[in-house]
């Protein structure tokens, strides 16, 4: 048995990727769960509008973080802020009363806000005025309503990144990638032909998940389908780019699965799908800002639940477009190099990138 144990250790020592994963993953999970897995909301972006905005705003303490005071604004201004995602709570002051609007897509923030209002104004008065609370977009605070738009994105990550990378790596493992390189194909034709079927399957998956969510969980789709498709299309390009990138860094399907897992896990935990991004420690929050799923969730929840127009989603759409160009560009460049390297490589086998063919 000891011979077997020694052999396993020797193999493991040489399989640096697996070894790294075994050591890094627990640390990563510890950090993520320690700093990101937090349902407690400490800061709730709040906008206060109306004639008594300054007075009311000065009376609002923690957890409300007043991001804008607009005495000239009205309910429409507050709704606009909530729809655009720049605020979770909008307090509309008026002579003799106040209307508190809350973004029901931010479950934990709304629950915290409700509790804070109950403590702040047990009499139901805010700043000396009678206050009425109204939850928008998800009045019953249903978890399924906010999860389904996010899950649609998660499925696209799986199909786009994992399945695509496996498909490309399979070509490399079986030797057919070399045959493709000899055939009269341009690199973009190989990549395009390779990812188009996955793109279609992913699009079908997306439609299936959204429809199932609407039918089974009565999740509303109140926004513009075109805006949703634009966001989904860009997001899919990023995930497919990640899939190709993973394939260019992997010599076999096992390595591809490991790498894809490294890309998928942070998206599940840090994109705002489960834990609110605003509740994460600043040290890990920046990770969520480079994850494409963070922006897709913003778009899908915005369109499906809030009917946010394209104009209100320009920031996540723009960032997704930027990520798509960067990731897909890098992936295509690496894939092209794999198909027909333009300059001699100088590394020898050890990195796994190239071995001496004989």
């Amino acid at each position: 048995m000891w011979a077997m144990v020694a052999k396993e250790f020797r193999q493991l020592r040489r399989d640096r990727r697996t070894l790294t994963m075994m050591i890094v993953l627990p640390v990563l999970l510890l950090v993520v769960f320690g700093y990101a897995a937090n349902f407690d909301v400490h800061d709730i972006p709040t906008v206060v509008v109306g004639p008594n905005a300054r007075t009311v705003a000065s009376n609002l303490g923690a957890p409300f973080q007043v991001v804008e005071i607009d005495p000239a604004g009205g309910e429409a201004t507050a709704r606009s802020h909530l729809r655009d995602g720049s605020a979770v709570v909008g307090v509309v002051t008026a002579p003799g009363g106040a209307l508190v609007l809350m973004d029901g897509t931010q479950l934990f923030s709304v629950q915290t806000a409700e509790a804070a209002f109950a403590k702040l104004a047990p009499s139901g008065r805010v700043g000396g005025h009678a206050a009425r609370l109204q939850i928008l977009y998800n009045p019953e605070l249903k978890t399924s309503w906010v999860m389904v738009p996010g899950l649609a994105g998660l499925i696209l990550v799986f199909v786009g990144t994992l399945i695509t990378s496996l498909g490309v790596v399979r070509e490399r493992q079986s030797g057919t990638l070399e045959q493709l390189a000899v055939m009269p194909f341009r690199a973009f034709q190989v990549i395009g032909g390779k990812i188009a079927p996955y793109l279609l399957v992913a699009a079908f998956d997306l439609a299936l998940v959204v429809t199932a969510g609407m039918v089974l969980f009565h999740v509303p789709f109140v926004g513009n389908v075109g805006s949703f498709l634009l966001g989904a299309g860009l997001f899919l390009l990023v995930t497919l780019g990640m899939g190709i990138l993973v394939s260019t860094l992997s010599q076999n399907q096992g390595q591809a699965i490991q790498l894809a897992f490294f890309l998928i896990l942070p998206q599940v935990l840090l994109s705002g799908l489960i834990f609110p991004v605003s509740s994460m420690a600043a040290g890990v929050r920046w990770i969520s800002y480079v994850l494409p799923l963070t922006y897709f969730i913003e778009i899908s929840r915005g369109v499906m639940l809030k009917a946010a127009p394209v104009g209100a989603l320009l920031e996540p759409i723009g960032l997704l477009a930027l990520l798509a160009v960067a990731v897909l560009g890098l992936a295509v460049a690496r894939f092209r190099r794999d198909l027909a390297p333009s300059v001699p490589k100088t590394r020898v086998g050890r990195s796994g990138d190239e071995t001496v063919a004989t």
Partner: protein, 295 residues
């Protein structure tokens, strides 16, 4: 006559290891050139350089007179060692894919493959898989065939069939570059390039490569002792029927036997291709060309 593929002093290194060093090679229409070498001699790397899948560190590769490109590669039929077929597609599906890529007008499966039309390639015996790969590579009527160990793992009958097809392609004026370490196959080539440790150690027809080389043929009743003595002395020895063939001169072997008091009849006889190859490989220090057949 225009050259189909040409390597001029091509060198390719991987880090500190030199896989191919200063290799020259030419394939012309209608000829079958064999790239003969042991495993690790650099044959596959050279093929990949000729196809433009690898770039040389120095030297020049010309495919149909120009740098390997999409257009020139389209005129090549290539069968890699791994065959390049999709295991999870049927024979017909592989054929159709290839036909579509090369824009073949005739896309129907040839009769020779119809028996396996619906079989998944991965389910077929290796011999049949090679036959399919070869047929697929020939389908777009390439002007140059590059075949990397085309008969590896194939039975003698299937091997003979494949060689018949290679010769047929050459008769139709296509050139073929075939890597092999099988001497019988090498003898079927019009010309051979012998690769040793990344270099082209010899080049020419089989007869030219053998040249005037002779080996010592030993007949003795005490052959186990003779065999053992020759091996201990570092000679390459093969048993041919009742005789031992030694890559050395008859005089040297006689001297050795005389010193060991072994009674034997030792004659100098013409070497065969395998013996010439072993002699070339043995006399060729890594990275240096030491023998030339035709040059």
């Amino acid at each position: 006559m225009s050259r189909l593929v040409e390597a001029r002093s091509v060198t390719r290194r991987f880090g500190r290891a030199t896989a191919v060093e200063a290799v020259n090679l030419v394939v012309e229409p209608g000829e079958v050139v064999g790239l003969l070498g042991a495993n690790g001699a650099g044959k596959t790397t050279l093929i990949r350089l000729l196809l433009g899948l690898l770039q040389p560190n120095s030297g020049t590769v010309l495919l149909f007179g120009s740098t390997p490109s999409l257009a020139t590669r389209a005129r090549v039929g290539y069968v890699p060692q791994s065959l390049g077929l999709y295991d999870d597609l049927s024979v017909e599906e592989n054929w159709v894919f290839n036909a579509a890529v090369f824009r073949q007008v005739e896309r129907s499966l040839p009769d020779a493959l119809s028996a396996w039309r619906s079989s998944l390639v991965g389910d077929l015996p290796l011999g049949v898989q090679r036959q399919v790969a070869f047929a697929v590579a020939l389908a777009h009527r390439p002007e140059l065939l590059m075949l990397d160990e085309p008969t590896s793992g194939v039975g003698p009958l299937a091997s003979a069939r494949l060689w018949e097809q290679i010769r047929q392609a050459a008769d139709d004026d296509a050139g073929a570059l075939v890597t092999t370490h099988n001497m019988e196959e090498a003898e079927q080539c019009d010309r051979l390039v012998i690769m040793v440790d990344g270099s082209d150690a010899a080049e020419g027809t089989a007869a030219q490569i053998i040249g005037g080389r002779t080996v010592a043929e030993v007949r003795t009743e005490d052959w186990p002792r003779a065999f053992s003595l020759l091996e201990q002395a570092g000679y390459s020895v093969q048993l041919h029927g009742t005789a031992l063939r030694v890559i050395s001169t008859a005089q040297e072997v006689e001297r050795l036997f005389s010193a060991a008091s072994i009674a034997a009849q030792v004659d100098g006889v013409p070497a065969n291709l395998e013996e010439a190859f072993v002699a070339i490989a043995a006399g060729s220090p890594p990275g240096r060309r030491t023998a030339t057949g035709a040059r």
